[in-house]
């Protein structure tokens, strides 16, 4: 189970500030269970975006947004809608957002933060990776995660060790910031590189304690708790 939670509306709307037509994709896998995606999540976001004056060109539920073959098959039928969209908003984990971004040449933004992989990392057939940092910045990086791919975890562009698109740690390894530069150039968003991003908040990486009380953390926790409470009540009522 990959656990995600919705980004704040302020943040989502800030991505779409200068845009009118939004193509929506929700994941029907893990995100369905988390209520961030699935039919419920899709409807919620669709309504809120309409309220905010946005035009929804399409709202698509895809079973597993980490599966690029599946995404390709579904999106093939929506070429016209995609052409008329300013950007795509994806309700899924960070892998799903990257998988979609990898297939399109318009901006692809995350609607959620990925916070935990719940003991079972799921299966993803692509090379996209997500570190569950809890502060998804794929909206500004062309849908490529610098955090999961830069050995220095840099958030403000390549270091001096980037050379002809390769990383200083391994001549075979692509410099992720070189990939981001190319992608941003392709989608006309090079100005994103001019923003200065603050250092990461490492507290977001650790699951908050209330999360540990939920089914997303461990099935056994949730199953045992009500039982104990019930028996406690029973014991008290017999006194």
């Amino acid at each position: 189970m990959i656990v995600s939670e919705r980004k704040s509306w302020e943040e989502i709307l800030s991505f779409l500030e200068e845009e009118k037509n939004v193509f929506l994709i929700a994941c029907g896998g893990c995100s369905d269970a988390c209520k961030t995606g699935g039919t419920e999540g899709l409807r919620e976001v669709k309504d809120k975006l309409r309220e905010a004056g946005k035009e929804i060109t399409a709202a698509l539920l895809i079973d597993f947004v980490c599966n690029k073959v599946l995404i390709g098959m579904r999106l093939n039928r929506y070429i016209e809608e995609l052409k008329s969209s300013d950007s795509v908003l994806v309700l899924s984990c960070g892998i799903g957002v990257q998988a979609v971004a990898n297939m399109l040449d318009i901006p692809v933004r995350p609607g959620d933060n990925t916070i935990y992989m719940g003991g079972f990392p799921g299966v993803w057939p692509g090379e996209e990776r997500c570190l569950q940092c809890g502060d998804c910045r794929l909206a500004d990086t062309g849908g490529i995660c610098p955090y999961a791919n830069c050995p220095k975890l840099l958030v403000n562009g390549a270091c001096g060790g980037s050379d002809k698109g390769k990383c200083e740690t391994d001549p075979e390894k692509d410099c992720v910031w070189a990939l981001i530069y190319e992608r941003l150039k392709n989608i006309g968003k090079l100005e994103n590189l001019r923003k200065i991003y603050s250092p990461r908040d490492y507290n977001l990486i650790l699951a908050p304690s209330e999360r540990k009380k939920s089914i997303f953390w461990a099935l056994e926790t949730v199953e045992e708790e009500p039982k104990e409470e019930a028996s406690e009540e029973r014991r008290l009522s017999t006194l």
């Binding site: 562009g157 200083e168 391994d170």
Partner: protein, 291 residues
């Protein structure tokens, strides 16, 4: 003395660089730096350069200060988190250090402790911002300081980077974050430096061209294969390859001096990285007619 005051006066600023030893034997290093006294404006002190563990930069900066030399404290994000970086900046200040060069730092896999945990809690831009904040009297999270440091902050840029555009964008961000001067990676191709200066025309911060003394043809080939954005043209490699061992320093001085003469008019200073050949730096400066 801060480098920015020299730039303000219109001086063509000259800096050199030393790498602290691996151990406590500081005498050879101090003898070498004494040769640079009154020849250069300041001396960069590298910090665990190439991720190889050595005597610390801050201690050596203080030693230079005591000998009447002006240090530039190089500080990287590789080995310390934001608490330690800010604390060390304050420590450097009370030890009299006034010039700081803020770097991201090489990755640990390039050094002699490749198993270590790389920190990189901040990057060079965050570090510049944090240092600027300290100068303004606050830490990174806006707590007020009881007495604040006063630094001239520097940053680096690589003219040989391919592509160059993201480097220029990052330069702009570094200036916004607080950089007051730039030192460049080693330049051997005048055209590349000219391209950088053209692309950075709108950046109103002094730029010092980086010069690395070529010690041999082997070293040149090594840099071409291993150092990002550094390219030594065949013509220069041939000069070094044809020179006898005794003649190499003379040739190296000639090459460096001619590069400086060609690029001097385009920029506001020169940063000479001698990689142990500190004793030849005065000859380079003389040959380049800078002293």
């Amino acid at each position: 003395m801060k480098l920015k005051d020299l730039f303000k006066k219109g001086k063509f600023v000259i800096t050199s660089e030393i790498g602290p030893p691996k151990g406590t034997n500081i005498e050879p290093m101090l003898e070498e730096v004494d040769l640079l006294k009154n020849k250069v404006d300041a001396i960069n002190v590298t910090e665990n350069q190439s991720s190889v563990m050595r005597l610390g930069s801050m201690a050596v900066c203080r030693l230079l200060k005591e000998r009447g030399l002006e240090p530039v404290f190089q500080i990287t994000c590789r080995d310390r988190n934001r608490l330690a970086l800010q604390s060390d900046l304050i420590s450097a200040s009370v030890l009299g250090i006034e010039n700081v060069l803020c770097l991201t730092g090489d990755h640990v896999v390039l050094g002699d402790h490749p198993q270590t945990k790389p920190v990189f809690d901040l990057d060079s831009i965050h570090l510049l911002k944090a240092a600027r904040n300290l100068v303004n009297g606050y830490d990174m999270v806006e707590n007020k300081l009881d007495g604040s440091p006063d630094f001239c902050l520097g940053a680096v840029v690589n003219p040989g980077a391919d592509p160059l555009e993201p480097q220029i964008i990052k330069m702009e961000a570094k200036v916004e974050a607080g950089a007051e001067f730039f030192q460049t990676q080693a330049v051997y191709e005048v055209k590349k430096f000219e391209d950088l200066m053209k692309a950075a025309e709108h950046i109103k911060v002094p730029i010092m061209v980086g010069i690395v003394l070529l010690k041999s043809a082997g070293m040149a080939r090594f840099m071409n294969a291993n150092v990002a954005g550094v390219f030594v043209p065949d013509k220069l490699i041939k000069i070094m390859a044809d020179a006898s061992k005794e003649d190499r320093p003379r040739k190296s001085i000639e090459i460096a001096a001619s590069l400086i003469k060609e690029m001097k008019g385009m920029c506001q200073g020169v940063h000479i990285m001698s990689l142990g050949w500190d004793k030849y730096v005065p000859s380079v400066l003389k040959a380049a007619k800078l002293i």
